[in-house]
Symmetry: none
Subunit: 430 residues, 2 copies
């Protein structure tokens, strides 16, 4: 059975990364029903019609993303209508929902939205768009493979914006595709921080080599801004055997990676920290400089963060460091704003101000300007404190301004996590 | 003339991001010779042969990435050989180069590498791989379009690893493609904020409709978290004519969109604001609540931000709003933390603290928890002040917690931009 993805959008032919292809490919792979083909085509009718015509011939399931919006280049519904020879109609419920979507925002619904986006293929199931106006559609249709052979096929039309497409795919396409799953498949993702990718690879290699003859077990390793994910996929006919295999592999990895594993599957570093702080009824505050608010933004990313996060300051200038955090003018003069001493006084200052249990400070040079002879771009001091016991470490990050800021934030979060582990012995368990 | 890209690699169908597609799409687009199609296919012979056969029929130039390695699933050369009916031979120079590549690293060359990777299509030009062992190939071939019509076509075979593919593409494919650049091409991207996508579409539609008969002019519209991009591409033989057309289209758009256009091409909202503040020698400070530091992070995103941004506070709790910003306890009690009054007192507080010229404040409910009967998730007050003249507006954003935070930040940036325009009459000019 062929499952094929068509991504419509001229921007995908001129340099935009196709994140839909990787999202959908990954989700289907988790089910064990892989995509057989991905085609990216411009949102011009002739070309899209050609691709769609070929897809209808060769594949049992066709997933189309993009081209459902209200503008002139949104041609998906009318092209599918022509290729499959299925009429469209204006669905009054969909039209109403679109009007309501705009009403909620206090805007009059533009006529084009209502007319164009409410066009539904006859016989299609409307897929609710909880995050936008263009509904999706699922249509079963009959394809005449030869004079005597009729085949039932299915096409999904999904909106282009990832925020709208991803939940719609998970809520509608995945449940449908589950019926195509031959073997059961489960995955476990381990999240690791505080080790180089090559060291993680070296540590887990014996386990991977031992299992490499087993076709039912797959491994993948992925690193991004100092966070490393190891994905374990196990297939089989028996759920208990699969669970057992995953459990054993995880145990092997815990033995060699220990506390460097900060979480599993949907866990985030900031989410794990929040959970540990809530469990121990502690709070955290932040004083940051070169990261400009990114660390605070991460620590308030997870719903419920107000229980552990009260306040933070972004002290970009020396003046602000002195005035808001009580960093000494002499310290700044003698050691500079980017120094162990300043990072430490920032910790003391934010703890005095906030009365939080934990504090984190960051001061560094994100670049591309601001380097001096002794202090290169990428030099960052990261401090973490529990009740006034300050620890400051020096780092030298490579990459662009935005790499350096992202890496500093991840290392700062991991430093906080390790300080909480050390001071309270709270661990993430699986 | 059709140029088509085939990416061979099963990993691209199971979740790996296709960075080749965006790299090649972007580089060709800069030349004005766009890809017409991208197909991603597994490295299995039948499927790859099917895709390749279709491509040979419809396209004048075919670029294939991947499948040139030494292992069993590296099937590109043998499949191309079969589909085009062109023999292969072992190229002794290539074989020697591969052996030398391994020798340099002190490794014996595995026999498979030598045999498989040295197979070259008869008549093909060998493309040197400076960063790996598999050479690329360029082959011109004749395709019989009909009995009387023979067409000359070209196929490029490039290796899969990005560090090998990218330089080989730039050194060999780009110079070749330049000969296909019949027309010159230029693009202009307009960045817009403060209008719904459909309203932007409505405003620019007359211009687009007027020019729709002209094949040399293309438009694309793209919206993300309340920021809207309109991309105008103009091709032609004469650079002056192209520049003129772009200038006229831009003028039409400026007439209908006015100050809603915040920038062009590489401009970002925060970058434009930074430029205006530097030009007028003003500074800005921020007091944020539900956005948790995201607004500050944006305002420090652009190199050189320390000239305009001194400090900010994230006052997540009521206590912090009182203590750090001097928001009155009675205000919080009477109107609540999410209110026009609190947003306004936050402005006054951060201006007093920072002595900045402009201030921005955000207070709202990012959700999913925290809503009350009168105050739903997504309710956000955004304040902006110039020297104590406070303006606060109320918004109701839909979407996830992260949508609401991202939209609040973009609207806050735009409010600041409009306040700067109003108070200083500084405009971004093109």
């Amino acid at each position: 059975m062929n499952i094929e993805l068509i991504c419509s959008g001229s921007e995908l032919l001129t340099g935009k990364l196709n994140t839909h292809a990787s999202f959908i490919g990954d989700k289907l792979n988790d089910l064990g029903v892989n995509l057989s083909l991905i085609t990216t085509v411009a949102d011009r009718k002739n070309e899209f019609a050609q691709v769609l015509g070929d897809a209808v011939k060769r594949s049992a399931v066709i997933i189309v993303t993009g081209g459902l919006g209200p503008t002139f280049d949104d041609i998906t519904v009318e092209t599918v209508s022509e290729i499959l020879n299925v009429k469209t109609y204006k669905d009054e419920n969909v039209a109403k929902a679109i009007v309501q979507y705009f009403e909620k925002r206090g805007i009059d619904c533009p006529a084009a939205n209502n007319e164009r986006q409410a066009q539904i293929l006859e016989g299609a199931k409307v897929l609710e768009n909880r995050f936008g106006t263009a509904p999706g559609q699922m249509l079963h249709f009959v394809y005449n493979e030869s004079e005597n052979k009729k085949v039932r096929k299915t096409i999904f039309l999904l909106p282009g914006p990832p925020k709208e497409m991803c939940p719609m795919f998970e809520e509608n396409v995945l449940p449908f595709m589950r019926s195509y799953q031959i073997k059961m498949k489960k995955t476990l993702v381990l999240h690791i921080c505080g080790m180089a990718e090559s060291l993680v690879d070296e540590k887990i290699k014996p386990t991977i080599d031992y299992l490499s003859a087993n076709d039912d077990v797959e491994f993948a390793i992925l690193a991004h801004q100092f966070l490393i994910d190891v994905k374990v996929s196990v297939s089989g006919e028996n759920e208990l055997t699969i669970d057992d295999t995953i459990k054993n592999i995880n145990q092997e990895f815990v033995n060699v990676l220990g506390d460097n594993i900060y979480g599993y599957d949907e866990d985030t570093l900031e989410g794990v920290i929040q959970k540990m702080l809530i469990e121990t009824k502690k709070t955290v505050s932040v004083a940051e400089s070169c990261t400009g608010g990114l660390l605070s933004a991460k620590l308030t990313n997870t719903p419920g963060s107000s229980a552990v996060f009260k306040q933070s300051v972004v002290t970009y200038s020396n003046e602000a460091k002195i005035q808001m955090l009580g960093v000494k003018a002499e310290t700044l003069e003698q050691f500079g704003a980017v120094s162990e001493e300043t990072a430490s006084e920032m910790l003391t200052g934010i703890l005095n101000l906030s009365k939080a249990d934990y504090a984190v400070s960051i001061t560094g040079i994100a670049g591309p300007d601001g380097a001096t002879k002794d202090k290169p771009v990428g030099l960052v001091y990261i401090g973490v404190s529990y009740k006034g016991n300050n620890e400051v470490n020096k780092f030298k990050f490579l990459g662009t301004r935005s790499d350096i800021r992202a890496r500093a934030v991840n290392v700062a979060l991991d430093s906080l996590r390790r300080m909480i582990l050390k001071t309270k012995n709270v661990r993430v368990k699986k």
